[in-house]
């Protein structure tokens, strides 16, 4: 896919344990998609193309978590051939929903699904990419927001820092002019401790935020847990609220453990 003129940066998209939803967000940029190859050489993107170009790659997008011995090796190889490595989504940045195995016995999990567990090769844990290799940028969300994904790509092309705000969903919610579901309806909401990026879509639909973008920077989970108990949340509900798509993000992991200890 080489064109005459200036060399276009080479993009690779890699998949580990995941649902494909984050790389699909790239294909969901319907208005920008066909212009993409004019600026970027889509060198390795198996979901979209059987043509592959050898590395090294200027930028690698990595979706998914590490859950098998083979993948723990593969991510090192991906790092080796990538000048910049950006992880996208809750699986790649926090281990994803499959990270719930980290709170259980994986052998028991496997035997609950498969009649012959010995055929299945899997690790005891689901871990984020940053547990295995150095990561240049993490884009949060389950799934990532496609406009934020485009911003990250453009930023790396321009060799600048992506403009991705670190504040909470609460800020987006106020900007959007939503009525606070917690104050007005008494609905438990993770918005105060959750990373912005979704556009506060859950409160806009009369529902509490369920934390799919993971923790914001320095979240005050202890305070929020107190408020949620005040609204009638029982300990198991509180633990489950923190233990979902970003269960292994350190701040949510700690908040879930604290909720359990306060029993």
């Amino acid at each position: 896919m080489s064109d005459a003129g200036a060399r276009r940066p080479k993009l690779a998209v890699w998949k580990f344990a995941s649902c494909d939803g984050c790389q699909l967000s790239l294909l969901d940029l319907e208005d920008e998609l066909l212009a993409l190859p004019e600026r970027i050489d889509v060198a390795y993107f198996l979901e979209a193309s059987r043509a592959t170009v050898e590395g090294p790659y200027d930028i690698s997008l990595v979706e998914g978590s590490v859950t098998t011995p083979a993948d723990a090796e593969r991510i090192r190889e991906v790092r080796r051939v990538s000048r910049r490595l950006v992880t996208i989504g809750a699986c790649a940045t926090a281990g994803g929903i499959q990270g719930l195995r980290n709170f259980a016995e994986v052998e028991e999990f496997v035997s609950a699904v498969y009649a012959t567990p010995s055929y299945i090769s899997t690790l005891a844990t689901s871990t984020p990419i940053s547990d295995h290799v150095a990561v240049d940028f993490e884009l949060h969300g389950c799934p990532v927001d496609r406009h934020q994904l485009l911003e990250v790509l453009l930023a790396f092309l321009a060799e600048r820092r992506p403009a991705i705000p670190n504040y909470s969903v609460c800020v987006e919610c106020k900007r959007r002019g939503n009525v606070c579901v917690m104050v007005a309806h008494g609905t438990p909401c993770l918005g105060p401790v959750t990373h912005a990026g979704c556009g506060a879509i859950c409160p806009a639909h009369d529902r509490g935020c369920y934390g799919c973008f993971g923790p914001m920077e320095t979240p005050n989970t202890a305070s929020l847990s107190g408020w949620m108990r005040g609204l009638g949340a029982e300990t198991p509900d509180l633990i489950d609220a923190y233990r979902s798509f970003n269960a292994n993000a350190p701040a949510f992991r700690a908040a879930g453990e604290q909720a359990g200890e306060a029993r």
Binding site: C19, L34, L36, F109, C142
Partner: protein, 435 residues
Amino acid sequence: MSTDNSTRRIETSYLARVEGEGAMHVRLRGEEVEAVELRIFEPPRLFEALLRGRDLGEAPDITARICGICPVAYQTSACQAMEDALGIEVEGPLRTLRRLIYCGEWVESHCLHLYMLHAPDFLGYESGFAMARDHREVVERGLRAKKAGNRLIETVGGRAVHPINVRVGGFYKAPTRRALEELRPELERCREEALQTVRWTAALEFPELERDYELVCLRSERGDEYPIDRGGIVSSRGIDVAPAEFDATFEEEQVPHSTALHARVRGRGAYLTGPLARFNLNRERLSPLAVEAAAEAGIGAGCRNPFRSIVVRAVEILYAFDEALRLIDAYEEPDAPAVEAEPRAAVGHGVSEAPRGLLYHRYEIDADGRIVTARIVPPTSQNQRSIEEDLREFVAANTALPDEDLRHRCEQTIRNYDPCISCSTHFLKLEVERL
């Protein structure tokens, strides 16, 4: 890939343009096909285990994450299984919305597959990007339709990938009539263009392959409804059962070469689910516009060539636009966005037609509304056996093809199914080995 006098082995380590990861292995001894294995090595994510102990209300959000391409299918089957357990029915405008958001997903998923993943095979391109260099207008039309499907999902569901507005009993907030009305001009335009897409796919060249599948899909209790969001399970060989009979009718077994379980009809064998099954068993229930387009495309009397599934998908895209417009016309804003119910200990079953086929969920819940056991049977694991049989038949008839051509055709044979390997709740590389 290697060739010598006695052995021939073709290998593709990662199968491209499918969702998820898989490989194929074919072993030939002379002209004899010894083995065909579709290997799915998508890392197991163990959803059925991790769902245990969670609140029943979380099932739609958690199971959506099985597949980013068809989350609405997972949400719908999960909601309906829970509603079955709770003894509630979702009817009227809430059911209209459920079918409407599902139409959006059919459009989005089918357009992605048709234009970006499947059509390049027929025209000799490596990708939709490469195809767009020579067929820009065609690909742009596809992306426009896909975008309209995504806008429909966003309007009803709040987000295109993993919608947030779907819940057991209905929705968190019902969209206004006006919000849906605003979609109409674009949906009408895309319906017109979908007709062109049917004609365009019908003019492609198709390899010969007619298979006598047992076709399995849903059939609505209403005679004028093409199966999308609900129905009983029927087959071309006489199956006609309620969703609760799924396990009594089909069985799954584990094979060493795949992390996906293989399904079959009990006492028989492979079956096919997805667009070909839906179309052949329900085509008289399509809208008049879609019936006419199918007839014009030469499949009015049915279609058993898996390569022609691209034409059937084009017809289903047209139908989904037509049906979405009809549903928007019929929509009245509901009094409440959801039917509420108290938890009770029970078992529930839910089925719906994911873009790539039948999707079955079964949950056992306790008196507090916590999930005790979960079972999820995605369409691709149901189709694995049929994919392998297609490959076996296709390879046997085409052993004279050079390795590279055979490999490409085998990949295409797999892509006919739009396999979604991420749906590997329990769940491609291509090798042809010639001995």
